[in-house]
């Protein structure tokens, strides 16, 4: 095809066609190729948002089951809380608990002391314990009965130490020192109010 054979108007048309073809090429690349950074971000955002919605949907689907399990743990912990020494007057609470069982066993307590350790306050709340020590003189069988009474009466009580030594008063009597522990607090998480 001879370029000079075209009239001026036809030449302009050909040039226009070429320009349009190039412009269309750019448009194709721009819209269909998806290489624009702005478009990348919005697509990415949409994908992230859809993922978040999906996760929220899954979590929401389990919400009733979670609520039920949470309620069960709260009930169980509230039942156990009655066995933790009352924070406002722990010594009196523990003293009463131990003394009543000592009387039932027919055992006389010589001393009941609260044990405090340096640095206890700095411990994590869950790791804090309340301790008392008690001393008495009694026979071995009475001690076993006394321990049975105090251990079976409180599921949170732990006998930290029992030290039985020979008493100078006779073979039927032993010098006994017992250290008892309870968790200092029982924290209950209640979750969301919604």
């Amino acid at each position: 095809m001879n370029w000079s054979a075209f009239t001026k108007k036809q030449q302009m048309m050909v040039i226009g066609t070429v320009v349009l073809a190039v412009a269309q090429g750019f448009l194709l690349i721009h819209f269909l190729g998806g290489n624009s950074p702005d478009e990348d971000i919005s697509e990415q955002e949409l994908a992230q948002l859809e993922e978040k919605v999906e996760q929220a949907r899954l979590m929401f689907a389990r919400s009733e089951e979670i609520k039920k399990s949470l309620a069960e743990t709260i009930t169980e912990l509230e039942d156990l809380r009655t066995y933790v020494p009352n924070r406002s007057d722990r010594y009196a609470w523990a003293y009463e608990y131990v003394s009543r069982r000592a009387v039932k066993t027919g055992l006389e307590l010589d001393r009941v002391d609260e044990i405090m350790y340096v640095g206890d306050e700095t411990k994590e709340l869950e790791k804090q314990v309340y301790e008392i020590s008690l001393s008495t003189q009694c026979g071995y069988n009475k001690l076993v009965e006394f321990l049975w009474r105090i251990e079976s009466g409180n599921p949170l009580l732990r006998v930290k130490d029992v030290d039985i030594s020979k008493s100078p008063d006779g073979p039927d009597q032993q010098q006994v020192k017992v250290v008892l522990q309870w968790p200092a607090v029982l924290k209950i998480e209640r979750g969301s109010n919604e």
């Binding site: 073809a21 919605v53 979590m59 929401f60 076993v144 029992v162 030290d163 039985i164 979750g191 969301s192």
Partner: protein, 196 residues
């Protein structure tokens, strides 16, 4: 010499073929414009649908997110409570029998030839990072050299005692006078350790 004179103007020329160059050029422009229009409208539709989808997803997120956050909060609370319960159950008995049962079992295994001077049963807590150690320690006098060894064996074979403090070891033995011997028996087990 041949002379060729062309009297036609350029616009008056005619070419062989179905369509003229002018028709070809105009139709190309038309096709290009048409396809460009289609591409642009497709792109605009895609954009609009993407925006609508984003709006819809965002509305769904705004509806679901507080509900999911509450469920997540409840789950965290439930896990914490469960952890507290597990800790309390492990703390209470440490997987072994209560102390009164241990003392009763010890009483049954002590032979007549043995006189106890001291008996200690309990939990040793040396450090915050160390697991508590369950300990049973007996000391006293025996009549007969082998009584302590026999008692050690009997105590170790006792399931309740073994679960509490593991194997019992004879840690000290000495002649006091004649056939009378002093002894120390001891068993220790860390809380995490499973009795064998």
């Amino acid at each position: 010499m041949n002379l060729r004179i062309d009297f036609l103007k350029k616009s008056e020329r005619r070419y062989q073929g179905i369509v003229s160059t002018k028709v070809m050029v105009l139709s190309s422009i038309g096709v290009l414009l048409g396809t460009s229009l289609i591409v642009v409208s497709m792109a605009m539709i895609t954009k609009a649908s993407q925006a609508a989808s984003y709006r819809r997803t965002n509305q769904e997120w705004e509806r679901l997110s507080p509900l999911a956050a509450a469920a997540r909060q409840n789950e965290a609370a439930m896990n914490k409570n469960q952890k507290t319960l597990d800790r309390i159950h492990a703390w209470g008995k440490g997987g072994s029998a209560p102390t009164y049962a241990i003392l009763r079992e010890v009483q049954q295994e002590i032979p007549d030839q043995m006189e106890l001077r001291n008996l200690q049963a309990g939990i040793l807590e040396d450090g915050a990072d160390e697991p508590p150690v369950y300990i049973l320690r007996l000391s006293g006098r025996i009549f007969g050299e082998m009584v302590a060894v026999d008692t050690k064996r009997k105590l170790t074979e006792n399931e309740v005692i073994h679960d509490f403090c593991g194997n019992i070891r004879l840690v000290s033995s000495g002649r006091e006078s004649g056939d009378i011997w002093t002894f120390v028996l001891e068993g220790r087990r860390a809380q995490e350790e499973t009795p064998q």
